[in-house]
């Protein structure tokens, strides 16, 4: 279990991370979410003991993180890079050896993961011969090759095709089921929504919202209605139940005001339009994210 208490890091004048506290538990996928430059990478680097926090504590099973704990962690940094001149298998063995695992155990894991990503034919190729997508997969393997208990994935799906993305998502969920702790950082909310059980939303170095994903949705999400129609819908914006409307070519997405009466809304719509679909949907994390970021930005400007 990883626990952060009031962790702060300042670079010059800028507070990159400002009094952040959260806990991750075994067997869960914890989402550290936020826009670019929010402080995600700095937070992960502090947990990894790559940089030291100015104040606050980071505990690892109740104790401060020591150098030996690095061996229990697998890390996929956001900034991807591999030694271009190295051969895939040699590179994975090297990085695994740095994590203190014996070579035979590493080789089993390497073979498993290369097979998982259908990269076995490339085992002895040089990294520079791989396509970008293949290099991304190898990069992912570097973070799991030593079978760590704790995994930090910074934007793990970037650069992967849809098939690989699905395969990787299954693999990550499987790791959580095995009791590993997965800390997952992204700015793409659809992905977080699919796999995270709890989230921590960070912006400008500060906590915006945190908790189990369902309760975050309950607290911050407005219900939405998706309508497919034909006719002139320009009157919708003025309706009493409507908070906001997003226009799309074939449909519109209506954000409802709190406690809005959806039956009344539907009655209003059918008066003027021919409605083909009317669906009440739960708010997406994406929507909540955009709303909260917007709310934060307004007082500042």
């Amino acid at each position: 279990m990883i626990e952060l208490k009031q962790v702060t890091k300042t670079y010059g004048e800028r507070r990159a991370v400002d009094r952040i506290s959260f806990q991750t538990r075994e067997g869960e996928i914890f989402g550290l979410l936020g826009p670019n430059g929010a402080g995600k990478t700095t937070t992960i680097r502090m947990i990894m003991n790559i940089i030291a926090p100015d104040s606050g504590t980071i505990l690892f099973d109740g104790k401060p993180l020591g150098e030996a704990d690095k061996q229990r962690i697998g890390y996929l940094p956001e900034e991807r890079g591999l030694y271009r001149k190295n051969r895939v298998n040699d590179l994975l063995l090297y990085l695994g050896r740095l994590k203190g695992k014996p070579a035979d155990e590493l080789q089993r894991n390497i073979d498993y993961w290369l097979d998982f990503f259908e990269l076995s034919d490339w085992k002895h190729s040089k990294v520079e011969e791989l396509s970008k997508g293949m290099a991304q997969k190898v990069q992912f393997i570097t973070s799991v090759v030593h079978d760590p208990e704790i995994l930090f994935f910074d934007e793990p799906f970037s650069g992967l095709d849809p098939v690989s993305t699905d395969a990787l998502r299954d693999a990550v969920q499987e790791m959580a089921k095995q009791g590993k702790t997965v800390l997952f950082s992204t700015h793409i909310m659809e992905q977080a929504e699919k796999i995270c059980s709890r989230i921590f939303l960070i912006n400008g170095g500060r906590e915006v919202v945190s908790g189990p994903i369902d309760s975050v949705k309950d607290r911050f999400g407005h219900r939405c209605v998706t309508v497919e129609y034909s006719g002139d819908a320009s009157f919708v914006q003025a309706l009493s139940q409507v908070e906001d409307v997003a226009w799309y070519p074939k449909y519109l997405e209506i954000t409802l005001k709190d406690n809005a009466d959806t039956d009344a809304l539907l009655r209003e719509l059918v008066k003027h339009l021919s409605v083909r679909r009317f669906e009440i949907v739960a708010p997406s994390l994406h929507r909540i994210f955009v709303d909260l970021m917007g709310r934060q930005r307004r007082p500042q400007s």
């Binding site: 680097r45 990894m48 690095k70 050896r97 570097t142």
Partner: protein, 411 residues
């Protein structure tokens, strides 16, 4: 499982370098360089400045009788005299490459004040100096004969005392040493030292800056401490350098102990096991010193180009002794040479030059190595601080001044 991560990184770096073609090529060529260094000076000294040994020299305005005497005196040089009457015709022969040079004696040899030598280059000093000496000797002999001296008296009176150059070394052995051979040996060895320090220093810097530009440094940092990464790199690359030196020194010893005696080649006295040992020691000291500075600069640099800019002053300290090698070899105990032989960044090259030319006293060597050891200890600590701060800094170029501040304010 407890593991020495410095050793894992060092092993990776070592394999990375020793498996490159460049390493193999340089390692193989090295012994040939040493061989060339040991044999060439002797060969070059024999053939001073490369005068052709079968040169045909035209001669105009001299009696046939005297030409015979002259030709006789030139026996050892291999020059052939070609007598002729028409100077213009002979000039044409020379232009047609039938003659190497042309000598004109304007008047009686006894009275003549000046001979004229026609040369195509004007720089074949060995030829015209030889001709001048022999002909001058003939003229003086003729004059003495006219003054009534017999040939024995003339020989006695005109015999010039020679000079034998001996070098007094601390070990008390007197050996005749050819200045030219000393300089060539010293320059070659010092060049080798200079090149390898530069090569391996830059290799460290590049290897670290590539970790930054290829974004692999964060993966390393998630597994190991900054210090472990730095020392791993220095030790791994240093081990590759030592392996190379070990092979070269083995080749050198083979030349000294086996090839030299078997082929009966006289080896320059600079090439002996003691100087090879010093070569290794100075390389090791210089490597550790320069490698740690390069490691710090590599960590602070934004890219390879930036590293080059930051490392300029460092290279300067390597280049200064190279430029000044001639005065240092000529006068190894000058104040200038002494100062440079104790200043840490120039000490390895300059002190090694002194070792080659004239072995310094034991306390001088001890002092030099003490200075180097202390400097290495200080530099490594400062470098580790700069490394830790610099390795995560991206997107900005720093000046040396800004980097120096990291050493002071590192938390």
């Amino acid at each position: 499982m407890k593991i020495n991560r410095t050793a894992v990184i060092a092993g990776h770096e070592f394999r990375g370098i020793t498996s490159t073609k460049a390493f193999v090529i340089i390692t193989v060529i090295g012994p040939f360089l040493i061989l060339a260094v040991s044999v060439l000076p002797g060969l070059i000294a024999q053939r001073a400045d490369g005068a052709p040994s079968d040169a045909r020299i035209g001669i105009a305005g001299m009696d046939t009788e005297l030409i015979e005497v002259f030709q006789d005196s030139l026996k050892e040089t291999g020059f052939t005299l070609v007598p002729g009457e028409d100077l213009e015709q002979m000039k044409q022969m020379m232009l047609d490459d039938e003659l190497y040079g042309l000598l004109e004696i304007p008047g009686d040899l006894v009275q003549v004040q000046e001979f004229i030598y026609y040369s195509k280059t004007g720089t074949d000093a060995s030829v015209f100096e030889t001709l001048r000496a022999v002909l001058g000797n003939m003229a003086v002999t003729l004059r003495m004969e006219e003054a009534g001296l017999d040939s024995r008296q003339i020989r006695e009176l005109s015999a010039l005392p020679g000079i034998s150059v001996r070098r007094l070394s601390r070990s008390g052995v007197e050996e005749s040493r050819d200045m030219f051979s000393i300089i060539v040996t010293a320059v070659s060895f010092v060049m080798l030292l200079y090149m390898t320090i530069l090569l391996y220093g830059q290799m460290i810097g590049r290897s670290i800056v590539i970790e930054k530009t290829s974004k692999t440094v964060e993966i390393l940092l998630s597994s190991a401490r900054a210090k472990e990464i730095m020392f791993g790199k220095i030790l791994g690359i240093g081990a590759a350098g030592l392996l190379q030196y070990a092979l070269w020194i083995a080749a050198g010893l083979l030349i000294i102990l086996v090839i030299g005696p078997v082929l009966d080649i006289s080896l320059p006295s600079g090439l002996n096991p003691v100087t090879l040992l010093f070569l290794l020691l100075f390389f090791l000291a210089a490597f550790l010193l320069y490698a740690s500075v390069y490691a710090a600069l590599g960590a602070a640099a934004e890219d390879e180009q930036n590293l080059g800019q930051l490392a300029w002053p460092l290279i300067l300290f390597l280049v200064i002794p190279m430029i000044m090698i001639s005065p240092i070899v000529m006068n190894p105990s000058s104040g200038f040479a002494l100062v440079l032989s104790y200043f840490p960044l120039t000490a390895p090259v300059v002190m090694f030059t002194r070792v080659l030319v004239s072995m310094p006293k034991a306390w001088e060597l001890l002092l030099c190595f003490a200075v180097l050891a202390a400097s290495i200890a200080l530099t490594v600590r400062a470098a580790a601080k700069v490394f830790r701060v610099g390795i995560l800094m991206t997107g900005k170029r720093f000046t040396l001044k800004e980097i120096a501040v990291w050493v002071k304010h590192d938390k």
